[in-house]
Amino acid sequence: MREMVNMVVVLTVITAVSGGILSMLKAGTEYRIENQILKFQKAPAINAIFSDATNDPLKDRFSIQAGEREVTFFPGKLKDGSKAVAFETKGTGFGGDVGLMVGVNIDTDQIVKVRVTTHSETPGIGSRAKDSTDFVSQFSGMNVAKNAFKVKKDDGTISAMSGATVTSRGVCTAARKAKELYMDLKPKIKTRI
């Protein structure tokens, strides 16, 4: 019995102390980690989308509750005075989720630019969605409300990357999700900018 109690006490104490230390460390590094994720994953895409913005989209970011999850929006003031927001959605590609940062002009509902953020597509084939702007630049200027964002094979208007139809479809899925999200949240977004 004594031995039993001893085992329980020792294991409980060790686990509790470990848990305590970790939660302190987690709280201490949380802000830094969030900044690092922004800096290395989202910042390059956002900067490419709002290359001529007059404000700092990263600094002005805000979140809106969409269903169960929170979506972060990065507002950008464009050179011609119109306002835009960028936000990230995900579609399924060949090797997993493809993250797509979509910038939409709120005044005209037109896409400013889209950029791929995170992906695990085949290097040299699907990865061209991120490495080159040939594919993603097709989205620029499209009207979010009027486009279906489908590849030509699926009776859409987007030309898929040759040899990477699945990745192209994944990007389109992300774009469709962005469309849905944007249409749903547009009134809310407008109040925040």
Binding site: E3, N6, M7, V10, L11, I14, T15, S18, I21, L22, L25, K26, T29, R32, I33, Q36, I37, K39, F40
Partner: protein, 201 residues
């Protein structure tokens, strides 16, 4: 055989070198050694975990009941692995992205648990730290050597701090087999063979 700190430290470097002599902890050895940067990063993360888990296991060795010792060791190891993971995310995020899943997997690296069980649980803290440091540095050096061989042959580069250094001219045809998964086995096999040749002389 008298114990000495120096001896406990140096055995990890050659005589009981983890990947090449006792052939332990092969999962990260094979998986992350595509670039020298990854190899060194993985080695240092493992060294950190080894030193601290050895130290704490050794301090508590008289309090931990032998029947739940493995559970206690794993909790201590997992704590330090999580600390490494959080610190890497906060300070060296690009490296964390590349090592990814292999950082949490240090918890189940038999090298780390093996040292706790075989050494730290039976020896005083200063020996345990020396042992952890030696094993960790031996592990780091092994990963560095293997990843250097693989990267030089496979990509013709050496990567430090995110910047690949081109070693050969533009006419170099990379032997890409070496940076793919099977190349890891071949590279490891060749290095094991060389180590055994040297040892047998």
């Amino acid at each position: 055989m008298a114990q000495s700190i120096v001896k406990e430290f140096t055995k990890g470097l050659w005589k009981e070198n983890a990947p090449f002599r006792v052939v332990l902890g092969l999962c990260p050895v094979l998986a992350v050694t595509k670039t020298v940067e990854n190899g060194i990063g993985m080695g240092l993360a493992t060294t950190f975990v080894l030193v601290f888990s050895n130290f704490f296991v050794s301090i508590f060795r008289n309090f931990i009941p032998s029947k739940v010792r493995i559970a206690c060791y794993i909790v201590i190891i997992a704590t330090f692995v999580t600390i490494v993971e959080l610190l890497m995310q906060a300070f060296t995020y690009p490296l964390f992205l590349k090592l990814g899943i292999f950082i949490p997997l240090i918890v189940v690296n038999c090298l780390v648990l093996g040292r706790s069980e075989a050494f730290a649980g039976k020896n005083p803290p200063h020996y345990a730290v020396a042992d952890g440091l030696g094993m960790g540095i031996g592990f780091t050096l092994s990963l560095t050597v293997l990843s250097a061989v693989r990267e030089i042959l496979g990509s013709g580069t050496l990567t430090f701090y995110e910047t690949p250094i081109q070693l050969f001219g533009p006419d170099f045809q990379p032997f890409t087999f070496m940076v793919e998964a099977p190349g890891a086995f071949v590279g490891l096999g060749l290095l094991l063979c060389i180590m055994n040749l040297i040892e047998s002389k």
